[in-house]
């Protein structure tokens, strides 16, 4: 009996009227945990009952504490008939199970019903008394901390980063059980909510056990997903990175870590001859390992088959290739260390996207794998071997791709699925990387923090240097000497799934780049369907990649961060949506332009047309460079001296598809012999492509967007943030759909959605949309659903202007040669954008004037009474791992919530829009209430993982499932913390008010 759970039901308020006759309610509460249920007294005839119950005590195993949610049901007492349920509250008590998180859950929770939504609120107090457990064979993992944040949480220090943990549990979906033929949808949905809550508790416990086995104490970058496989069942799976974290007791120790504006470093022109300082202090004894040299041939292949993968099992120590020769002795040394550190691991994967300084040594490029599977019924839920095997296969593939890139690890790793009927696409992607081994081993971490500064490459270009062997490149690529250090080779473009490393040096600002694509497919059954999907996938990947590359060039940038490619399968089409943040890395060469070539050279008008297009493209590139402040210094070409003179652009993406039959396809994403800067317009399709390139409208002045945590070039955030979710469902009206019209429709849908966001958030200008996360679903034939979650943050233009007094970029460049201290933290906001340089645009000022005078004859006053003190505390939410201008002082535990909402009166609730609008607002409200009850005031790393919406307008019905997660935290505003006046112009004193402050 290692735990005692204590619950007290205090009061209710705003309850719905349950008795029409009296317009009142006779409410009582059932408190259930596991199989034990307690009841409060009936509080008669009140909509604001005061139960003030005794402490209900549950004596339970800590295993149950982890798995089970506390279930609170509010009912209306009825003497003659069955009691009516008003609604429920599920409370995850996990945050109470580890010492550093919350100690009590206490507060008002919205009472939720799957049909009626929120119906009043209930005040509950929950406490847990844990006893020490001496049982070695325990099944619980109390005490392991979970974080959704994909970087080391702000008030912790990583002692060891152990690596990948994964687990999945399966069950039958209650909705598809026979009993649902007879019970109400409501009962079935409630069963589903409860089951998923239970399953995620179990999953978390099992992952925790694995972490304890690895001698870790926390999971960072925890990502849990549901696969609603329909008749074949329900899969809950999770991945994360096991770590040993140490709480930084003196919070002032690392103030920089908490600064939301991760300062971009200035571009120092450094002549330090040795950028490989990271290998100067090996902390592990050198092991003289014999590498079995694999034939270089195998690396020239784009992907290796699963069979090859198996031969490349980690224990053999193969895969580093002829590292020592050309990469210099340092590289070999490093590789050996990393090798040993990662050797023991089955999957050297990390779900982190941002790392402690010095952790990331080299980045190879994006690796991804997809596989098409046919779902079958899960026969034995206790042994989910099939699903495990599927994922193991994909991970194996990812690992081999990373190896081919000369990397031992994959960072920024994530997994996803797309299900349509019985076909399922499993996807995994990440960034191949070489890591500093010292973070990966036990016992070698002493003093790592002290050494860290010395370890980091002062140039911040180390991660761009190729990890693979130049002569045995896994794919043909165009390499040059690094533009920063001039010593190591770098590729001409770099694609990654991680956040921009803090040490990276960037010119100008970044921007959101998206590739969008649709492909029609024939409706088919089972095997045939899977095969046709498998056949389409490579083409889609290729085109998505081409689009990304072209758009990147059009922006005048040379690297993508946070790349996320989502392939969604529907009945009769496949959708591809790739989002990433483009930046200009100083270490990489300046991207060339885009040339257009026509096929029929003798046609005069045609040539004219071509040259017109060419001009348009060149203009766009020039305009973009200006827009994003990309003005790299001119460096004479001869200094760089490229050993490969032919200007070939090559794909750095490595991927493969395998279908259910384990057949492996190979795909060459490099553009063959053709020069990829040249777009050949040989048919109307190509013409369309070029057109669509140019139709992407840049955001209006004052707006920037990115899908990463931070936006390069902006570092003066204010505390004014607005997190939002926007959903659009579009029905394709055309019966004769072609790929072209489909593409155009999809493109328009996304572009219009973005335009709408810019319009809605116009009062926040100057503003940046950060962590823009698009998801696409195909719920029915000819129906596309796009969901966007992001946070808009206002930044301070004035402050930027002030900082621009520091020497201009060019000067610094020349001077910095003597100035090679690494901490050159000059903000990059050097050139003010002429379009938004005024703090308030005249248009806005005018509209403010317009709004104030009262219309004639109207008794309207602007004198508003002094605000009544609200009892509701403000909870900020953000998909980022930090709150701008505030410091996280405590992590209270993860929030992982699953809700189902249904209606049988869709029209009455304002149609589909009204229904979903209310539901999403309710989900936000419930998340906020839980955080507030834990004593928190913000949610960081918030993510809406699932939003499955189904409607049946004929029956006037709709249903929606939403799954959200994040980390509940306590934040303290910087101004309060330091008591140092921040810039007077910064509106720190107004936390969220301006979020809704829209003037037209």
């Amino acid at each position: 009996m290692p735990g005692k759970l204590k619950v007290k039901i205090v009061a209710g308020r705003h309850l719905p009227v349950m008795d029409r006759a009296s317009d009142l309610t006779d409410a009582f509460v059932e408190v259930k945990f596991g199989n034990t249920t307690f009841k409060t007294d009936v509080y008669p005839k009140s909509l604001n009952p005061q139960w003030n119950s005794e402490w209900f005590k549950f004596e339970v195993d800590d295993e149950d504490l982890q798995d089970e949610p506390l279930q609170i049901t509010v009912l209306d007492h009825d003497t003659y008939s069955a009691n009516d349920a008003i609604g429920k509250v599920y409370i995850d008590i996990d945050p109470l199970l580890y010492s550093e998180a919350a100690t009590v859950i206490s507060g008002w929770f919205p009472i939720y019903d799957t049909i009626h939504g929120i119906r009043g609120e209930i005040n509950v107090v929950v406490k847990v008394d844990l006893f020490n457990d001496l049982n070695r064979f325990r099944q619980s993992s109390c005490g392991v901390k979970f974080f959704c944040t994909t970087s080391i949480p702000k008030c912790y220090r990583a002692v060891v980063i152990h690596g990948f943990v994964e687990e999945l549990v399966v069950n039958e979906d209650p909705e598809y059980q026979w009993i649902d033929r007879i019970r109400t949808p409501r009962a079935s949905n409630e069963a589903r909510q409860r089951l998923i809550s239970l399953m995620s508790g179990e999953l978390q416990r099992k992952i925790g056990l694995k972490v304890l086995e690895m001698r870790g104490n926390a999971v960072v970058g925890y990502l849990q997903c549901f696969d609603l496989e329909g008749e074949s069942g329900l899969v809950v799976r999770a991945i994360g990175t096991a770590c040993t974290l140490d709480k930084i007791s003196n919070t002032a120790f690392l103030p920089a870590c908490n600064s939301p504006s991760k300062e971009m470093k200035e571009i120092p022109f450094n002549e330090d001859p040795n950028p490989n300082t990271h290998s100067s202090g090996p902390s592990t004894p050198l092991k003289n390992q014999t590498y079995s040299f694999s034939p270089s041939k195998s690396y020239s292949r784009q992907s290796s088959s699963s069979d090859t993968d198996l031969s490349l099992t980690p224990k053999t120590g193969m895969g580093s290739g002829s590292a020592g020769k050309e990469g210099g002795p340092f590289k070999a040394l490093l590789r050996q260390q990393t090798q040993t550190a990662l050797e023991q691991r089955e999957f050297p994967f990390f779900t982190l996207t941002a790392f402690p300084p010095g952790f990331l040594v080299h980045v190879g490029g994006v690796v991804s794998a997809r596989s098409v599977k046919l779902l079958d019924r899960i026969h034995n839920p206790d042994e989910p071997e099939t699903r495990d095997a599927w994922w193991a296969e994909i991970r194996q593939e990812i690992k081999s791709h990373a190896k081919a890139l000369g990397c031992h690890a994959v960072v920024g790793y994530s997994e996803s699925t797309s299900i349509c009927e019985e076909v399922c696409i499993l996807s995994a992607s990440g960034t191949a990387a070489v890591l500093n081994p010292r973070f990966l081993q036990d016992g070698t971490m002493e003093g790592c923090l002290e050494q860290r500064t010395e370890e980091t490459s002062p140039l911040g270009c180390g991660f761009c240097h190729i990890p693979y062997d130049e002569l045995n490149m896994p794919f043909p690529a165009h390499l040059t000497y690094c533009y920063n250090c001039r010593k190591q080779k770098v590729p001409d473009v770099l694609f990654t799934t991680i956040d921009l490393p803090t040490e990276a040096m960037v010119i100008g600002k970044g921007c959101l780049i998206q590739a969008r694509l649709c492909r029609l497919k024939k409706k088919a059954q089972a095997e045939a369907n899977a095969t046709s999907i498998s056949n389409l996938l490579p083409f889609m990947e290729y085109e998505v990649h081409t689009q990304l590359m072209n758009k990147l060039k059009l922006k005048g940038m040379n690297a993508l961060f946070g790349l996320r490619i989502q392939i969604t399968v529907g009945e009769n089409m496949l959708m591809g949506l790739a989002s990433a943040t483009g930046v200009y890395l100083t270490a990489l060469p300046t991207p060339g332009g885009i040339q257009i070539a026509g096929k029929t050279p003798n046609d005069g008008t045609y040539e004219q047309h071509i040259s017109h297009m060419q001009k348009k493209i060149n203009d766009t590139i020039a305009k973009n460079k200006e827009l994003y402040d990309i003005n790299p210094p001119e460096i004479p070409e001869e200094i760089i001296g490229s050993p490969f003179p032919e200007p070939r652009q090559r794909s750095r993406l490595l991927r493969s598809q395998s279908e259910s039959s384990d057949e492996v396809m190979e795909l060459d994403l490099s553009h063959g012999k053709k020069d990829a800067f040249v777009l050949e317009i040989d048919d109307t399709d190509a013409m369309e492509d070029v057109h669509s390139l140019l139709t992407d409208v840049p955001p209006p002045p004052g707006f920037y967007s990115c899908n990463t945590e931070i936006m390069p070039g902006i570092n003066n955030w204010t505390s004014d943030i607005q997190m939002f979710t926007s959903v659009r469902v579009s029905r394709l009206s055309n019966i004769n759909l072609t790929n072209q019209t489909l593409n155009k429709n999809f493109n328009d849908l996304c572009e219009n959605l973005l335009k709408s966001l810019y319009f809605k958030l116009r009062s926040m200008i100057p503003c940046c949309l950060c962590h823009v996360n698009f998801t696409v679903a195909l719920p029915e034939d000819e129906v596309i659903q796009v969901t966007v979650t992001a946070v808009a943050i206002t930044f301070d233009k004035n402050q930027a202007l002030q900082t621009s007094k520091v020497p201009a970029a060019e000067k610094t460049l020349q001077r910095a040669s003597t100035d090679n201290e690494e901490q050159l933290q000059f903000p990059l906001e050097l050139c003010s954008d002429p379009l938004v340089s005024q703090p308030f645009s005249p248009a806005k000022a005018a509209s403010l004037d317009k709004a104030s005078p009262l219309a004639e004859g109207h008794l309207r006053h602007r004198s508003i009474p002094s605000c009544t003190n609200s009892s509701v505390s403000v909870v900020k939410m953000t998909p980022l791992s930090f709150i701008p201008r505030a410091k996280i002082t405590k992590y209270l535990g993860i929030i992982n919530m699953f809700f189902i909402r249904e209606t049988t009166s869709l029209r009455e609730e304002g149609g589909v829009s009204g229904f979903l609008h209310a539901f999403i607002a309710e989900v936000f409200a419930m998340v906020r209430a839980h955080v507030a009850a834990l004593g928190g005031n913000a949610v960081v790393s918030y993510i809406m993982k699932q939003c499955v919406f189904m409607e049946n307008p004929n029956k006037n019905q709709a249903q929606c499932l939403i799954n959200v997660s994040g980390d509940a935290v306590i934040v303290v505003r910087e101004s309060e913390l330091e008591m140092v006046p921040v810039q007077p112009s910064a509106p720190v004193s107004q936390p969220t008010s301006a979020g809704g402050d829209v003037t037209t």
Binding site: Q722, F724, K755, K760, C867, V912, T992, G996
Partner: protein, 357 residues
């Protein structure tokens, strides 16, 4: 391609004050879009009509969901569903309960019943305010009325406490409730020159001086009903006009002190008895509900109109009423000084407010 579903939900509820006004004014989404287009918003922001349409729909949906809470503003403050900063909550409530001058003038003093509600169509056509907006305003009046009708304590404070309105708006609502309860006639043609503000001022004066709550805060503290006892006592004032000696003394006292000060001395002297009779008669008749209703008409017909026709200035009226009131104290035979002051202070304030130059 059509958008079946198109929503935007912010963690902090996004509120556009201009769209809120259009919604309150009862415009349909398409009318609101047209009006917003006319404001030149597209030129300012570079957006398209589609964007504007979607934005307007979104705001309308939000307001529709908030409306339920706005009916009981304390719920809006305590609810968890929408995260709205307190200053915005106050703005939402204040604007929701704001009303149009032309509308309130139509409804003021009428019974807030279903019958009146049926007339809203006509009011809407007459005032050019949308029917939807008329309904909102009417329902607000009725809701406030229902809540505070039977309540003890200060009317203004009760309204403020339950509806979290600004002081000014709460005072206006107090006037509306007071007028609706006593059913003062305000709609006659002769009263059209009076603004709502004039009436609200008079109501405030009457609430402060003539209700039960005005004299004793312990006894059944009701601000809504006029003090019946006081109205009964007002009959005693009749002596001022019934007793010929008293009337003459009063007149000579007023005339003496006003000679040379008032610009319409002759007219005043000639009319004194008529005016005095009018004011005292109004007082003595207030025991009948019918006469209470006609209170303002009587003031206009019996006092304001005669003065107007003799071209009295506001200053003349002020001088006259002040002297008329104070002189009564020096009339030895007149014993009802306290009663007189309670009556005349309010009458004087009301008349001065209602007398437009």
């Amino acid at each position: 391609m059509t958008n079946d579903l198109d929503i935007f939900v912010g963690n902090t509820t996004l509120i556009d004050e201009d769209v809120y006004r259009l919604w309150l004014d009862g415009f349909s989404v398409s009318d609101a879009v047209t009006l917003r287009l006319r404001s030149g918003i597209l030129e300012q922001t570079g957006a398209t009509v589609d964007v504007l349409q979607s934005d307007t729909m979104d705001h309308y949906r939000t307001f529709h969901m908030l409306e339920r809470l706005l009916h009981t503003p304390s719920k809006l403050i305590h609810q968890l569903h929408f995260q709205i900063p307190p200053s915005r909550q106050a703005m939402l409530i204040e604007r929701y309960y704001a009303f149009d001058e032309s509308f309130v003038r139509e409804v003021l003093g009428k019974k807030l019943s279903k019958g009146t509600k049926k007339d809203l169509d006509d009011i809407s056509t007459k005032t050019n305010i949308t029917l939807k907006s008329c309904r909102r305003q009417f329902d607000n009046f009725k809701r406030v009325f229902k809540v505070v009708e039977e309540m003890r304590g200060s009317l203004v404070e009760n309204i403020q406490q339950h509806f979290l309105l600004s002081d000014r708006l709460a005072r206006y609502y107090a006037a509306i409730v007071f007028f609706a309860n006593s059913r003062f006639e305000t709609g006659k043609k002769k009263l059209q020159f009076l603004t709502f503000e004039d009436f609200a001022y008079c109501a405030e004066q009457m609430i402060e001086n003539w209700t039960l709550g005005a004299v004793d805060s312990n006894v059944d503290d009701m601000d809504v009903d006029l003090d019946k006892e006081f109205l009964q006592e007002l009959k005693e004032l009749k002596v001022l006009i019934a007793d010929k000696d008293l009337l003459d003394v009063h007149k000579s006292l007023v005339c003496t002190s006003l000679r040379g000060k008032i610009s319409v001395y002759n007219e005043m002297e000639a009319n004194f008895k008529n005016l005095s009779r009018a004011l005292v008669n109004i007082a003595s008749k207030l025991t009948h509900n019918k006469d209470v209703r006609d209170f303002f008409i009587d003031l206009v017909e019996k006092f304001i109109e005669p003065c107007k026709s003799d071209k009295w200035t506001l200053n003349d009226v002020r001088l006259f009423l002040t002297q008329y009131m104070t002189s009564a104290h020096t009339v030895d035979a007149f014993r009802h000084q306290a009663l007189w002051d309670r009556y005349m202070n309010t009458i004087k304030s009301c008349l001065l407010k209602m007398y437009h130059d």
